[in-house]
């Protein structure tokens, strides 16, 4: 892509999220979300493959619908209450529509159907931007909206964790697996949103680190399905040894960092008296863990017998910087002992 165009689009992405972060007026927040959507569309369609264009179209339609719902809730709130402040929404209609619109924006179940197909049509870098950066602005809004309907958020969260577990069982395409893992993690984040927004923020940040590591590893190995992942031992042996830890961290296994948000969320749910919710969520995490374990099994614990030794792929020196990957991998693996520190940092 023309570097000037790329610079404008990336700047637009940054601008959109920053506008939403900095806004207290609902329309400004909506504007930031729209700038985000529009800036990423050319990035998604840059390869002009019909599947990429299909993914771009589906993404545009869902995001535009969500933005329209958001604007409708905004104007309804302004009509009824006469003010546009995000934190002062009081009427139940906008208070219900806004989380639903934002749920469609980020891909929470039952509004998740677009996410696997869209991610499958994109290359791994754009998929990474979609899974990480594009979630920041909607979450900024979700964290600020005063909670009204406790059951709605819990239902969204539970459905997302269950769909995120069940949906990944049938997949061999890595991008779809990552989309479904995104749905599951977002479910965990939404569950605790009304009780402890700081925990949502902690989960989001850790999720970013884990997803970044996973996407970059898949990009280095140039693998988009489980089979090509199985031959990554020949391309990047050191990475192949570390990645199971990243994947199991995604699955929430102690003593890796991914366990921290799950543990704290379950503790908070139990403290709020939502024992059945906590149990169902914990069990759905087992489903997710199953397919992360399957990925680690395919990648590290097996050496594909049908790769002829004389035909191992070339181990070319990669030109991309490995510092971000190193930082994120260490964050994903080693941060569990810092749980007391993170509780102190994130509780008001």
């Amino acid at each position: 892509m023309n570097p000037y165009v790329l610079a404008i689009l990336l700047f637009g992405l940054g601008l959109g999220t920053t506008i939403t972060f900095a806004s207290s007026h609902l329309t400004t927040a909506w504007m930031g979300l729209e700038i985000n959507t529009l800036a990423i569309l050319p990035l998604m369609a840059q390869h002009h493959h019909p599947r990429a264009v299909e993914a771009t179209t589906k993404y545009f339609l869902t995001q535009a619908t969500a933005a329209a719902m958001l604007l409708f809730a905004t104007t309804t709130n302004a009509w009824i209450t006469g003010q546009w402040d995000i934190q002062q929404i009081t009427h139940p209609l906008p208070m219900t529509m806004l989380p639903l619109a934002l749920a469609l924006k980020i891909g929470l179940a039952p509004l998740h159907a677009w996410l696997p197909e869209v991610l499958q049509g994109l290359d791994l870098t754009t998929g990474l931007i979609l899974s990480t950066w594009q979630k920041l602005a909607p979450f900024a809004l979700l964290l600020q909206i005063p909670p009204h309907n406790p059951n709605m958020l819990i239902i969204l969260g539970l459905t997302s964790t269950l769909v995120g577990g069940w949906g990944g069982l049938n997949q061999t395409q890595l991008r779809k697996i990552l989309a479904i893992s995104s749905i599951a993690h977002l479910g965990w984040m939404i569950l605790v949103l009304q009780f402890s927004p700081s925990l949502t923020l902690l989960t989001l940040i850790l999720y970013f680190a884990m997803t970044f590591s996973t996407f970059v590893v898949f990009k280095i190995n140039k693998s988009t399905n489980i089979n090509s992942l199985a031959t990554s031992w020949a391309k990047t042996p050191a990475l192949t040894a570390i990645i199971p830890l990243v994947l199991l961290s995604l699955g929430g296994l102690p003593p890796l960092s991914g366990f921290m948000p799950k543990w704290l969320i379950l503790q908070e749910l139990v403290a709020q008296g939502l024992l059945p919710t906590a149990t169902i969520t914990a069990f759905s995490a087992l489903f997710s863990l199953y397919f992360y374990l399957r990925l680690s099994y395919a990648m590290t614990l097996t050496i594909s017998p049908n790769t002829p030794m004389g035909l191992t792929p070339w181990r070319l020196h990669t030109h991309q910087s490995t510092l971000p990957l190193a930082v994120c991998t260490m964050t994903t693996i080693a941060l569990l002992p810092l749980t007391p520190l993170s509780i102190t940092l994130f509780t008001p």
């Binding site: 002009h48 264009v53 589906k58 395409q173 988009t224 399905n225 489980i226 399957r294 099994y297 395919a298």
Partner: protein, 304 residues
């Protein structure tokens, strides 16, 4: 109208004559059913007898067939749910990883022919004939017929003479379209016995927009005429994009994760009988083949 009438200047009587003419036209009330359907009926494949029955005579209400259909759909649905416990697409993950060859279509009995459909230019009024049957010993399928490149006499068709065989798209429960996932493989492997004619292999993938509906990825299959079987291995990177038979300028590789059909077409402008015997169609993974796409798109440097 003769020429002197046209050159005369129009005057008020012309307007009234137009109005008078319109009254002569019969009044056509708007119909809920399109008129053409009432007169002509739905599309009739050439060669099939005309169905002149009245609509209520065409109803075939069969309770047991309905029950069988429901049972079949729910069995498929249950299989979809339980397959997930075994592994992706019903196979254990080790099978996915170890798989280097997979036979997708093989012809081992008359029921395997139900997955295929044949067509020829008789659909547009030409004179080619094509038939599909199971070969000897129930081991192969035989696509045979006669090609005739005489164009149909409809005044607009200039070329004719093609025959084709295409697989039907696999269906999940309740007639939902399913796709083949061949992303583990990179080569198409066929065992065929032809008659020396050049065939074209067409693969269609899943599309979203309606203008991509006729997108096909094609490659050639040159058959030897001998009595010996021919093993043909074509990498998927060699398939080029065509749309309605025309090779496109903007080429892109075939994505293997959602394949709909495969087809064989003969259109080599040679009149006469043809035969193609197919044993099986499979996909395999050739580790030595690392090419991603065989055709490069250059933006030529323009000389200033």
């Amino acid at each position: 109208m003769s020429l002197p009438n046209i050159t005369r200047l129009p005057h008020l009587r012309l307007l009234s004559s137009i109005h008078h003419q319109q009254l002569l036209l019969p009044f056509i009330p708007p119909l809920s059913v399109p008129r053409r359907t009432v007169i002509q009926g739905n599309y009739r494949r050439p060669g099939q007898p005309k169905d002149d029955r009245l609509p209520w005579e065409k109803i075939n209400f069969n309770f047991s067939k309905g029950l069988e259909g429901i049972k079949k759909q729910f069995t498929l649905l249950k299989k979809e749910f339980t397959d997930r416990w075994v592994g992706p697409e019903g196979k254990p993950i080790l099978d996915h990883m170890l798989e280097q060859n997979q036979v997708v279509w093989e012809f081992r009995g008359p029921e395997s022919l139900e997955q295929w459909t044949v067509s020829s230019d008789s659909e547009i009024g030409g004179q080619s004939e094509v038939y599909l049957k199971i070969g000897k010993n129930n081991n192969t399928c035989l696509l045979y017929g006669t090609l005739s490149s005489t164009p149909p006499k409809d005044g607009e068709t200039r070329y004719s003479g093609y025959c084709t065989m295409r697989s039907k798209q696999p269906l999940a429960s309740f007639d939902r379209k399913k796709h083949f996932d061949w992303s583990n493989f990179n080569t198409l492997h066929l065992r065929v016995r032809g008659d020396g004619r050049p065939w074209m292999i067409n693969i269609t993938a899943a599309t979203y927009f309606s203008h991509h509906r006729d997108d096909m990825y094609s490659y050639f299959l040159y058959t030897r005429g001998g009595p010996y079987w021919q093993d043909v291995k074509i990498p998927f990177s060699k398939f080029f994009l065509t749309h309605r038979g025309r090779i496109q300028d903007n080429q892109h590789p075939l994505w293997l994760d959602k394949i709909n059909n495969i087809g064989f077409t003969l259109g080599d402008k040679v009149d006469g009988p043809f035969q193609l015997e197919i044993d099986y169609i499979g996909v395999c993974k050739d580790y030595a083949h690392t090419e991603e796409f065989a055709y490069e798109l250059y933006q030529g440097k323009q000389s200033s």
